[in-house]
Each structure stands twice: as structure tokens, then as C-alpha cells.
């Protein structure tokens, strides 16, 4: 039995501990916003936050999440304490998604970036976002939306101590 928290809720799953976190989220927890794209950490569609850091859930065994805080796209808005995370709003304002399949992963990577670097320049955006493939090629809009959300000054800095404290209680 593996225990962890997803979007603030306690979860216990009885699965092979080597099962990738992706499949536990999608199948055992029936939260399908996190996507399967490649299975080898090459495309970023499966990106979630593990204790605030962006990770590729398709290659992360669920055992690695034992006792940890996992945030998925379904819980992103709540991390901003709003109906929408500023990035989600910027994504709508810039009409970023086309097919939309990669966008959960793009948003999770971008949110992790902004929580650690509230004012990323182009190089920082390249470094944080180049692990996420968008087959519809919406990179210019993703870049613009990240800058717009950053400029809105509404993204709170990530405080690792807060999360560590939270997970020790979980």
C-alpha cells in the first residue's frame, strides 16, 4: 500500500510499487488530465509536480511518491487559490492550445518555472520548457503567455519548507 497526497487529498493505492505514477493517476485515481505521450520522459505530456518540482510521471515509479505531495493539472488552480492559475488565464487570453493534448504538461512545467523564477527571461523559458513537445507548434504563444502571467505578478514564489512541512503531516 502506497500513500501520498494528490491535490491536497490523501490517497492510498495497492499497486506494484514500480508502476509509473502516470498510470496510477490516470487509471487508479481516474484523473485523466495528466497525459501519456511517450513513456520515456521525452515529451513532457505527463508532467506533474512532486513536492513542487516538475517531474515526468511516466518514468517515476509510484513508490517515489510515498509520503509526497503530488499536484496535477486538476489541482493547479487551487495552488494559486483562485478559479484559475494565472498561467491558465494567460493560456486562454493568448488562445494557446490547439489540439490541447500537451497543454496539461506545458502548464505544469510553466507553473514550476514561475514558482522558482517569477520573471524568467527567454533563456530560462527555453531551459524549463524544452522538455515539453507541442506537436501543434504553439511555442511562440506558450512563451508569450508565460511572460504575460509573470508580468501580472500574481504567481507566488514556491517555498520548499512549506511543502515539506505539509507532506510530513500527510
Amino acid at each position: 500500500m502506497i500513500q501520498f497526497r494528490v491535490n491536497g487529498e490523501d490517497q492510498r493505492v495497492d499497486v506494484d510499487p514500480s508502476t509509473p505514477l502516470l498510470w496510477v493517476i490516470r487509471e487508479n485515481l481516474a484523473m485523466t488530465g495528466t497525459k501519456f505521450g511517450c513513456g520515456i520522459a521525452q515529451c513532457g505530456a505527463c508532467t506533474v509536480h512532486l513536492n513542487g518540482n516538475a517531474i515526468r510521471s511516466c518514468v517515476t515509479p509510484v513508490a517515489a511518491a510515498e509520503g509526497a505531495d503530488v499536484t496535477t493539472i486538476e489541482g493547479l488552480a487551487a495552488t494559486a487559490g483562485a478559479e484559475r492559475h494565472p498561467l491558465q488565464q494567460a493560456w486562454i487570453d493568448n488562445q494557446v492550445p490547439q489540439c490541447g493534448y500537451c497543454q496539461s504538461g506545458q502548464l505544469m512545467s510553466a507553473a514550476a518555472l514561475l514558482s522558482q523564477n517569477p520573471n524568467p527571461d527567454d533563456a530560462a523559458i527555453d531551459a524549463a520548457m524544452s522538455g515539453n513537445v507541442c506537436r501543434c507548434g504553439m511555442y511562440p504563444r506558450i512563451r508569450e503567455a508565460i511572460k504575460e502571467a509573470a508580468a501580472s505578478n500574481s504567481v507566488e514564489m514556491f517555498d520548499p519548507s512549506e511543502v515539506m512541512e505539509g507532506s510530513s503531516n500527510g
Partner: protein, 736 residues
Amino acid sequence: MGKWTRRAFITTGVLAGGALAVGVAIRPGHRAPKVAGQVTEGGESLINMWVKIDPSNKVTLIAPHSEMGQGAPTALTQMLAEEIDAAWDDVAYMEAPATDDYANWALGKGFILGPADVPAALIPTVNGAFLQVAKGMKLQITGGSLSVRSTGVYGIRVAGAAAREVLLKAAAEAWGVPVGELSAADTHVIHEASGKRAPFAEFAQAAAQYSPPVNPSLKRSEDFKVIGTDRPRFDIPSKVDGTAQFGIDAQVDGMKYAAIMAAPVFGAQVASADETSATSMAGVHRVVNLGDAIAVVADGYWQANQALKAMDIRWTATENDGRSSDDLFSQFESDIVAAANSGESKADVEAGDIASGFSNAVATVEATYRVPYLAHACMEPMNATARVTADSCEIWIGTQNPLGFRYEVAEAMELDVEQVEIHQHYMGGGFGRRSNSDTAVQAARIARDAGVPVKLVWSREEDIRHDHYRPAVASRFRAGLDEQGNIVAWDNVYHEKHEPVEAPVIPYAVAAQKIHHTDSPTHVPFGPWRSVDHSQHGFFTEAFFDEVAVAAGKDPYALRMGMLSDKPRHQTVLRTAAEKAGWGEELPRGMGRGIALQESFGSIVAQVVDVSINAGKLKVERVVVAVDPGFAVSPNGLTAQMESGINYGLTAALYGDISIENGAVKQSNFHDYPMVRMNESPVIETHIINSGEAWGGAGEPGTPAIAPALVSAVFDATGIRVRELPLSKQDFSDWG
């Protein structure tokens, strides 16, 4: 006209035409009451096949097109809102059910007739005929960049205008006033003289009883309030919070998960499969042998895939086991040379006297260009969920052709089409790949065998190795120049002739031309890939043109402009791109600039690409694109399609390479079939030209011109002439 294939139907070029005809969405008679049960629920009135209104005054467009990221449902709804005079907050979109009644006949009609004028007396006959053809082909396709330019132009605008007319007629009847005194605005009927104003919903039931007018009057473009403006796409909010439902997200009670591996060599069969190594693993339900593939059904996808990987599967030998890409290209090149020499090639274009064109030329330029196979690599791997009983089959999937899939699943499962139901979902990329029903049929067969509902998910490896690929093609050119450096003769022979038929045709005035092709079949499956034949021929003809311009000592832009004097739209597009990009400026060492032009799917596109080469590394810095789509229904949507089409084509030009080794595809995932990423994506500047000519497509026309503009920019920077894609095969280590 012969027998139309479905692909020919959607991609064939237009017939010769005169003035733009007002298309007709409405068949004579009133079909709406017959189909109302399929598309309406309590209190809704179906005004005509395409339009329903509910008691709260919500106006819903019902149209046979899917959302795969191109935004067509929103653009099509703009077209309805415009013609029916509905407020934007009152409109909604519903994808038509996968039934014969919603076969996409307007699409076929628009595409085959194009802007040809149809005499009014023949309209009912023509419409009836096209519905029959579309029904016969189970046609309900989203593809060919057609949604707006065919369904929208020939179907939805007319349906909206027709609905408006019957609503006014019903209001006139109810209020006892002449219909000429009524107008419509903001989803209301207005009688200015009396100050009366009432919502459409009040007259919807009565309006639904009238046969819709066959030829209602449409708005003039100068009066548009909704068409030509940017409206937020309906699907986007659900795509930023994880709630959008793609095929892979379908949940069916009691379902299990399947992983699959098909024979690596196309055409091979399962020779033997060691089932027990899979069935002995935890969570595994059963192994299904589909003849040319093995599937494992388990409680979870990962378990299924792990068990599949553990199996020892042997495949039958085929005659293609030793074939490689080198063999295939040798075959292509010997076949095109043989066809050209024997005179047995088939002509696309024969103009002027090609023999004397070349004998009078003072110089000749010759080259052979090549492109490899390409996979679509949709972000959402292929998948389908199926529930099968003795007399029914339900499929949950994202498809570009719901009606076609329904028929194909029925045929494969030996069921009546009425026993098959398709539950349509968003597509995580389509690009042509999701017009093939292979995954749906597999899922149905596995679910029947397993006796439980099954969600079949292809691994990325399966997706890359079992696509229906953009064909690998070789194309040989010869151009003759006169003393002034004018191109006087153009000879082009290639293989793999599909659609659109005009893809290899050049827009330039060359007196003597021969463009011809032959067949050179292989065992590798092929299918439509974003922009179809334009994806290779745009590269071939425009890159070769640049080469010829350089040989003639001319500026490639100026030479093009001089040879387009009878094509003012092309000139305007090319000039716009060149001027916005600063064509003609001196560039620093290590920088290069290239230009290309390609008309496709009714839109004309020119691109100017800037590249830099530093320390042997090629970088695409900027793409300036000019597009004339006739009229941009959704300017921001068109801009997004240009950006998307360019990055899709850029990935192909820089990296795209599916190679054949021992009869099978060598590549398997994004590590060896790489994509353009954030750090490689250029700045893209889009300039839209609304010429007012016939409306063109958006989803595909952005793709063809990027590769030729790019290789021309590389030549400008380095002097290296790249005639074979992808560019990643080229060594730039001596540069920068």
C-alpha cells in the same frame, strides 16, 4: 467522372469555374423533421438540418466537423451567428452524429465544384447528387482544410440565412405584419414600426414547420460583424484545466486495458507467440492474436504493456524482410528514369514544345530531390475504447471521419451499421492520421475476444512504427535557361501521385513545361499527412526554383515576381512577405535568408526564413509569412494555423526521417524521431491579406513553403545546396 475514392473526393482540385456561386445547404423538401430525433432533446426545435433553437433562445449549429485543434467548430459557429443574426453569447456548437443524414455532402460539393457557377434550376439536382455521393462514401471528414471553405461557405452560411428567413416568416405570421417590415438582430426578431421585439425561440416551433428556402440571400462581406473577427475558441477553457475529454480519456464501466504490437515488417503475420509468459503475470486477463498483431489485455495499461514486452513473439518471413530505405530510393529513381525514357510516364502538365525548349536553351540545370517517409506523431498516441456484444459495438475515439469509422467497424465486425455507435472525442492531434480506422477496428476485435470492454492504447513505439506515412518520394528536375537567364523549359518527373492533383504544378510562366509521374509502389503504408502531396512538391519545386535562379544569376524573389505577371494575388503575397522580412538587405556572415511560395487548399502562402549558423549549429531565427486565404473568417485562428503549419513543416525539414531497415521502421520514439522544441521554435510573423477572392483553407497551407524557404536560406548562408531532407543529415561543422 469515374468512381471517386474518398481521398480523391476530399483533395481533388476544383473544376474550372466562373463567378462564385452561392452554395446551397438546403435540399428541396424538408428533411429536418426526419432527423430531429437524432439531434434534439426536450423543447428544442430543429429549424433545418444544421440549426436548432431551444426555449432559452440558445442557437446551436450542428455540423459534421471535429475539433482536432484547428478551431473549426468556433469558426463555423461564427459563420452561423453572422447569417442568422444571433448574439455571440447565444450560440453553441454540436458535432453532427455519425449518421448518413449528416454525411458531409456540402464538403464534397464545395470541393468538386469549387467556385463553379451552378444554374439555379440545377441546384436541387446537384445537391441531391452530392448527398448521394457523400452517403455512398460514408463521408464525414474533417480534413483537406475544408471545414470553413466548403462546409462553412456552401453549408452553414446558407443554413443560417435560411433559418433567419423562416424565423422572420413565422414572426410575420404571428404578428400579422408583412415580413418585409421585420429584421433580426442579437437573436431577436424586431418590428421597428411597432417597437415589437421577441427572441427567436418564440417562433422556433413555427419556423421549423416551414421548408427552408433553397437560395436565401447572404450578407455582404462589408456588413460582417462576426465573420472576420476573433472569438475565443469554445474548446480552450477545458484544455487548460485537464477536463477536455480526448479518446484516451474515455471511461467505460468494467473496462480493461490493452497494449498491442503489430508485425514490425508490414505484411508479416504472427508465426508463434508464447502466451504463458504474459498470462502468468499479475493483472493480465488474456492474450489476443489478431493475425498481424498481438494484444495483451490487463487490469492496467502498464501491466498490459509489460506483459507484452515479456512475450516471445515470432513473425512470418516476407519478401520485404531485407528492404531498406536505400533500396527503396534506388527503386524510385530507376522507375522515374525508366518511365521518363520510355515515354510511359503520365502527364500532369504538358505545355509548349519541351524538346525545342531545351535544344534552344543556352544552359541547363538538373537535380534530383528526395524526401523520406514521415510519421504524423500526434501527441495523443493512437487509441480506441470498445464495448462489444453479440449484436452491438460501441467505440469511444477521436476521429477525423466518424461516419466512415462506423461503416468500417461494422464491416470488420460483420455487424449492420445501425448496430455500431461512435462516441466522438477531442483529438490530440490529427494531421491526417486519425482518418484511418485501424485502431478502432483493432479495439473492437480485442474487446469481442476478451469479452469485456477494452481501452486499447498504442505505445509511442507502435505509433511511430505503424503509421500510414507521408510517402518517401524522389523528384527529378531539368530546367533550361535562355541567354538572358529566363527559364524557358521545365521538366519534372516524380512518383507517388496522390492528391491534390495540382501539387507539383508551378505558378510561374514557363513556355515549355512537362510535369509527369509514374508509379513505384512499396510495402510501406501511406496516408494523408498535413498538406498531403503539397508537403513534398512544395519543397521540390520551390527549392529547385531557387537553385535555377542562382544558376541564372538572378535574385530568387525578383525572378519569381517577373514570372507571375498574370497572377496578381501571388505577387501581392510574395511581395508582402519579402517587404515585411526586409528582403534584399545585406546580412552578416553566418546568416542566410530564403523565400518560397506555394498555393494550396485555396490559400496562397509565401514565407521568408532567416537562419544563422554558429559553431556548426543551424538555427532558424525567424519566419515571416504572408497568406491570402480570400477572406480570414477568424484572423487569430488563421494566424495560429500558420504558426502551427510552419512548426509542423519545420520539424519535418530539420529532423523528420522515418527510415526502413530490414523491411521495418527503424525509429521508435521522440529520441530518434525528434520534434522542434521551445528552444528551436523561430519567431513567426504572420501577415494576412484579405483579397476577397474565393475563401481558402487554413489548416494545411502553412506547411508546404517552410522547407524550401529554409534550404534556400541555408544556401544563402553557406553555399550548401540541400536537396534531401531532413537537414539533420547535413554536416555544418565547417561553418561558423
